[in-house]
């Protein structure tokens, strides 16, 4: 047997559970206790399209060095689901640990001899302690957290504190949970030598960071940005964004005196109606958004084109996931890049923002409303399930007290009354952005008829070709203006000059950062650029130009961002090398590093600096 793993603050624990067994809150408790000890811990929930019965996993990466991406591999498996036993046991790293419920006898050949096995009769203890079936089920989860606290040397006081915070003043619940916690802990302390090779040691790497999921962060951003109308249709993994918006609105947007709401949320009949409502509200001067995922984007295509041509602000949160039907949709992907960038019929291009974590979900959500109104066009905030539905350690949210909304170019009553000229689609300022009016502004001036195309600069109906072309050219100028307003890419130069570059975006970010370290250890250095928006900043093209090869790291099959780069930057296809991960699990640092190393070796490119022996 290999030596059992000995790691302090750097390991991966994975819980294999059964959906609907109440494990989620216990697992979350485990992750948060580690965070409270000042050690970065990143949970990832892998869940089925199911309410009860199917397998679900919760992976916690503990990393004092601050790696928040998925690493790959498992050091301690908490195997609570007999359905997935074989696969779960097989996924443990050599020298790793297996914790399981030993109440039922498991045949010896079902184990491995290169791992440490810790069997605790959880069900038996629960059955003895509790008579109520539900209690037996729920406290079993708390009990294994208690046992793990001993095995991994987690401060039990932090767990107790978290339980008290969770149940607030419900003393009975607090006492019952703490009792179950200690049952598990005492059993572990009595039966094994604690801690095992893996342990958590109090540190100070969390700093002032906060712990929240991207969907909630984006919803909060929408509240701060002054969104008043939300229309949506339930779809995983975006549902929790709309629900979080409602939750925050009820907290922050109810008029204290009248009890009335400063928001309107509609659960629409489908995604078509949802985006239609957003467009209607945007046309009428309210900040409006929808939250959806890939299939919703497909359904919204026609309306998105209308909004592009009619120049109506709209914000769309697309929490990306795997393809059609149920199942894969509860797994993560970055597979809507092209369907959003060019959404709809006719010549259309849309503004996309790619947040990397909850902090950027908040910031980009807020920016999206400013951009949508400034540019009078739909703006997409491209989350994915990995950052949308998982809690992540992230920089605290910031909102400068003096920040004001940019409501864009709107002529109000005073402007119109003073005789300011109004032509809805005339490029007065040379930036491609025309002025607009809200319905109902002035009795005499400023009314116009909104249409998709078939109009002149004065919004008059015309089927002539020349005004159409003129308008389309102006829309391109507007897109150029967008380039100057969207978040700039973030460049990380390698410690020494490199022939290789890496372009990546969104949730790939933490895995990419870590992969760069892994590669550097092998002597492969990379310049890295994180794309944060489309249209691309000119520096993206320069970045491609100045490198011999640029790896484009994505979580989809068709290298969609690479295609977009080829089209929009007119880059040489031979220079852009695909690094793709799309099995539905979050991309890992190991995968990126291995793939890039392999591609470099395969192309017989000698690294600039050999790894030291």
């Amino acid at each position: 047997m290999p030596k059992p793993l000995v790691r302090v603050n750097e390991f991966v624990v994975k819980f294999a559970n059964i959906n609907g067994s109440g494990s989620a809150s216990a697992n979350r408790l485990f992750a948060r206790a580690i965070l409270r000890m000042g050690v970065a811990a990143t949970p990832r929930n892998i869940f089925p399209s199911n309410i009860q019965g199917l397998p679900t996993w919760y992976e916690v990466r503990v990393s004092e060095s601050g790696h928040l991406g998925a690493r790959g591999g498992v050091d301690l498996m908490v195997a609570m689901n007999p359905q997935t036993w074989d696969k779960d046991v097989a996924s443990i790293e050599a020298g790793g640990y297996l914790f399981y419920d030993s109440t039922r006898l498991i045949p010896a050949q079902k184990f491995r001899d290169d791992i440490t096995v810790i069997g605790m009769p959880l069900t038996a203890i629960c059955n003895q302690e509790y008579s109520d079936t539900r209690e037996r089920l729920l406290f079993k989860n708390i009990m294994y957290v208690g046992a793990l606290s001993a095995l991994l040397d987690i401060d039990v006081a932090e767990l107790e504190k978290l339980i008290s915070e969770q149940f607030k003043s419900k003393e009975q619940l607090i006492a019952a949970n703490i009792h179950a916690l200690h049952l598990g802990r005492e059993y572990a302390l009595k039966h094994w030598s604690c801690p095992i090779g893996l342990r958590v040691r109090r540190a100070n790497t969390v700093g002032n960071r906060i712990f929240i999921d991207g969907n909630s962060a984006a919803a909060l951003g929408a509240v701060y940005a002054g969104a008043t109308v939300a229309a949506w249709y339930p779809i995983t993994p975006s549902t929790s964004l709309a629900e979080a918006f409602e939750r925050y609105c009820k907290r922050f947007r109810v008029d204290k005196e009248s009890g009335k709401n400063r928001f309107a949320i509609i659960q629409a009949e489908d995604e078509l109606a949802a985006i239609g409502m957003v467009i209607g509200a945007g046309w009428n001067g309210a900040r409006a958004f929808t939250a959806t995922s890939g299939p919703g984007i497909s359904l919204m295509q026609e309306f998105l084109g209308l909004a592009y041509f009619a120049e109506i602000p709209a914000v769309i949160f697309d929490v990306q996931r795997g393809g059609p039907s149920t199942g894969m949709p509860t797994r993560t992907q970055q597979a809507d890049v092209l369907s959003c960038a060019y959404a709809s019929h006719g010549d259309t291009k849309h503004v996309l923002l790619f947040p990397e974590d909850p902090a950027e979900c908040f910031a980009f959500a807020a920016d999206a409303f400013d951009l949508a109104e400034r540019l009078q066009t739909p703006v997409f905030v491209m989350l994915d399930l990995d950052i949308g539905m998982n809690e992540r350690l992230t920089e605290p949210f910031r909102w400068p007290e003096n920040r004001r909304y940019d409501r864009g170019k709107v002529l109000h009553f005073e402007d119109l009354d003073a005789g300011k000229e109004f032509a809805r689609y005339l490029d007065v300022d040379g930036d491609g952005i025309p002025w607009r009016t809200y319905p109902g502004t002035h009795p005499k001036y400023g009314a116009f008829f909104t249409r998709g195309t078939t109009k002149d600069a004065f919004a008059r109906y015309t089927e002539e070709g020349a005004p159409y072309v003129e308008n389309m050219e102006r829309l391109l100028r507007k897109f150029e203006t967008a380039k100057t307003l969207v978040p700039k890419p973030v460049l990380h130069r390698a410690s020494q000059e490199s022939r290789f570059g890496a372009l990546y975006y969104g949730s790939t970010s933490p895995a990419m950062e870590e992969a760069a370290e892994l590669l550097a250890a092998q002597g492969i250095t990379l310049d890295r650029m994180r794309i944060r928006a489309f249209p691309f900043d000119d520096s993206v093209k320069s970045f491609i130009d100045e490198h011999e090869f640029v790896f484009v790291i994505e979580q989809n099959r068709d290298a969609q961002m690479r295609s977009l780069l080829l089209i929009e930057c007119e880059a040489d296809p031979r220079k852009l090398i695909r690094v793709l991960h799309y099995d539905g699990t979050p991309i890992t640092a190991r995968y990126i590093a291995e793939t890039i190393a392999e591609k470099i070796t395969f192309s017989r490119v000698v690294p600039l600096r050999k790894a030291l022996p």
């Binding site: 008043t228 009248s258 509609i266 109606a273 239609g276 046309w283 001067g285 007290e401 009016t437 109902g440």
Partner: protein, 351 residues
């Protein structure tokens, strides 16, 4: 259509309404529909209804989908903002607009293809949500702009101009609207201007989802013998259940009818709908009876027109959502943004 632009000048003694506006102030661009199109009569009726109610044109928003009917908002209320949206999706755009600003008056113009086929879902959901609007379907039983295909309101057995017979069941949008909980349901005929204007006025003042199904013959594709939506057929089979008269709160009730002949319905904003009953025992406040009556008359081959149902206590979507009185599009940072201090406390709670 006419190719002559309308002169901007008008007779100096043209009557003016309470706002000092003439009927001409409610007009739009010259219609490009076929001469004799029922839709143009509906546009004229909308102009007259708005003029007579002295509604400020700029406080009206007119929205439509795609099709002949959806082109008409260009031809009335030139001082109003208009929105020619997506085929069958006017209801959602209107709903969103209404959420943004509850103070405007919303007219949604649609057709039978737009509302009964491609947009049936959106029609249904806007009605059941109680969006405060006038939703008018200019119903000609045919696809005009694509040249003569049957629509979902074409009657069973109706013959197309090319001679084919419709074998699909028709959708009665008034029956559907009643089922869906519309608080104002009426049917009219573009050839009966006085009835249509009165119904439009009542609908415009109704504080909820007001639906008008207006039979509007298509002179190009559905006005031939054998059509059930032709001028001749509708005139011969029109059964009006009542004549409606709208009385604003500021006006004294001047219309007098013999007892038993009239019914006055006071809506909660104070407007009174005075109805002269034509049908014997028809009670316009009874939704179930209206549905039964519609079905019975349809079986007898009659087209029932008039105000079919009204709920004087109607509530609208904003009431359901408990939104503030100020239109949402007028709220500014101080009303919307919780601010930096709150955010810092929130950050703290997430550690």
């Amino acid at each position: 259509m006419t190719f002559l632009p309308k002169p901007k000048l008008h007779h100096p003694e043209l009557p003016r309404n309470a706002l000092g506006l003439t009927r001409r102030d409610y007009e739009g661009a010259v219609s490009t529909l076929c001469a004799g199109c029922g839709h143009d009569s509906i546009s004229a009726a909308i102009i007259r209804a708005c003029y007579e109610l002295a509604l400020p044109p700029h406080r009206i928003a007119k929205l439509s989908g795609i099709g002949c009917s959806s082109k008409t908002p260009t031809y009335f209320l030139g001082q109003s903002h208009g929105f020619n949206s997506v085929h069958g999706r006017m209801p959602s755009v209107l709903t969103g607009a209404y959420l943004a600003n509850r103070d405007l008056i919303y007219i949604g113009v649609s057709g039978d293809g737009d509302s009964a086929s491609i947009g049936l879902g959106q029609f249904a959901h806007a009605i059941r949500r109680g969006v405060n609007m006038v939703y008018i379907v200019e119903n000609n039983g045919v696809y005009g702009l694509t040249k003569g295909q049957f629509s979902a309101t074409s009657d069973l057995g109706a013959k197309s101009k090319k001679g084919t017979t419709n074998r699909d069941q028709p959708i009665d949008l008034t029956g559907l609207a009643l089922e869906l909980g519309a608080s104002f349901v009426a049917r009219s005929f573009s050839g009966d201007k006085s009835q249509l204007v009165a119904l439009l006025k009542a609908a415009l003042l109704h504080p909820g989802a007001a639906f008008i199904d207006c039979i509007s013959p298509c002179v190009a594709f559905n006005n031939h013998p054998g059509s059930t939506k032709s001028y001749d057929y509708v005139r011969a089979h029109n059964e009006a259940v009542n004549r409606v008269e709208v009385i604003l709160p500021r006006e004294p009730i001047a219309v007098e009818y013999a007892p038993g002949e009239t019914v006055a319905v006071t809506q909660h904003d104070g407007t009174v709908l005075q109805l002269r009953k034509l049908g014997a025992d028809y009670d316009i406040r009874d939704r179930a009876a209206a549905l039964a009556f519609l079905a019975a008359r349809r079986n007898a081959g009659e087209i029932v027109t008039g105000l079919l149902y009204v709920d004087p206590q109607a509530e609208d979507l904003h009431t359901h959502l408990q939104t503030v009185e100020t239109p949402l599009n007028e709220l500014e940072e101080d009303m919307l943004c919780p601010g930096a201090t709150v955010l810092e406390a929130l950050n703290q709670s997430l550690r």
